[in-house]
């Protein structure tokens, strides 16, 4: 099992360019998440999905869009990149556990720089 994989690992964009980050998981998890990590800010939730075809906003959703057309994939889009979106992006997946959430499994991350 590969677990959670992310594509690409690194990317440099110019301001105004667009791109899509791909997350794939092979654990048949219901829930998937996109986080960004900046120094001193911890992990901040961008968007998440509790099932195929559903998405929800997290703490910092502005400037990002997501889609979950297939259960195993969760895409994060930046329509018009800004320098403030320079960050490390992590995808994660998990399953529900009772009325809460089970362990989250994280991908290796994508380091994005916007010039």
């Amino acid at each position: 099992n590969a677990g959670v994989t992310q594509t690409p690992k690194f990317r440099v964009l110019k301001t105004g360019q667009s791109m899509t980050l791909l997350c794939a998981q092979d654990m048949n998890h219901e829930y998937m998440y996109w986080y960004r990590q900046d120094p001193g800010m911890g992990l901040r939730l961008i968007h998440y999905s509790v099932g195929e075809g559903t998405t929800a906003k997290g703490e910092v959703p502005d400037g990002y869009n997501v889609s979950r057309l297939k259960k195993q994939n969760f895409l994060l889009g930046l329509e018009s990149a800004a320098p403030s979106q320079t960050s490390v992006y992590f995808c994660a997946s998990s399953d529900p556990r009772g009325d809460s959430i089970d362990t989250q499994y994280f991908g290796p991350g994508t380091r994005l720089t916007v010039l």
Partner: protein, 111 residues
């Protein structure tokens, strides 16, 4: 919105010293999870605490969940250089569909 406060933000210790990080919430938590992120790596699950007053141990790591289920701690006994990294606590949001992470405590260890 719901927040999980974690202190300290940074901690430097000499190898062999103990280390503790604390996690606090203003609301009662259904459970709390702890993750470790090595430098340059991704967060990795360590443990989940569910019961009031629960204490769990993993070798030199001791995890506690407060009686009121509003706070938690991670204690490392006799730190080693392999303990270096950032430790995060995380709690489920009210809907039970996502985790809210603390900002983490970054531990550095000198030998």
């Amino acid at each position: 919105g719901q927040q999980v406060m974690q202190i300290p933000q940074y901690q430097h210790v000499q190898e062999g010293e103990d280390f503790t990080t604390y996690c606090n919430s203003s609301t009662t938590l259904s459970n709390i999870q702890w993750y470790k992120q090595r430098p340059g790596g991704h967060p990795v699950f360590l443990i989940q605490l569910v019961k009031s007053g629960e204490v769990k141990k993993q070798k030199r790591l001791t995890f506690q969940f407060g009686e009121a289920k509003k706070n938690s701690s991670l204690h490392i006994t006799a730190t080693q250089t392999t303990d270096v990294g950032t430790y995060f606590c995380a709690a489920a949001n009210q809907a039970g569909t996502a985790l809210i992470f603390g900002k983490g405590t970054t531990l550095s260890v000198s030998s």
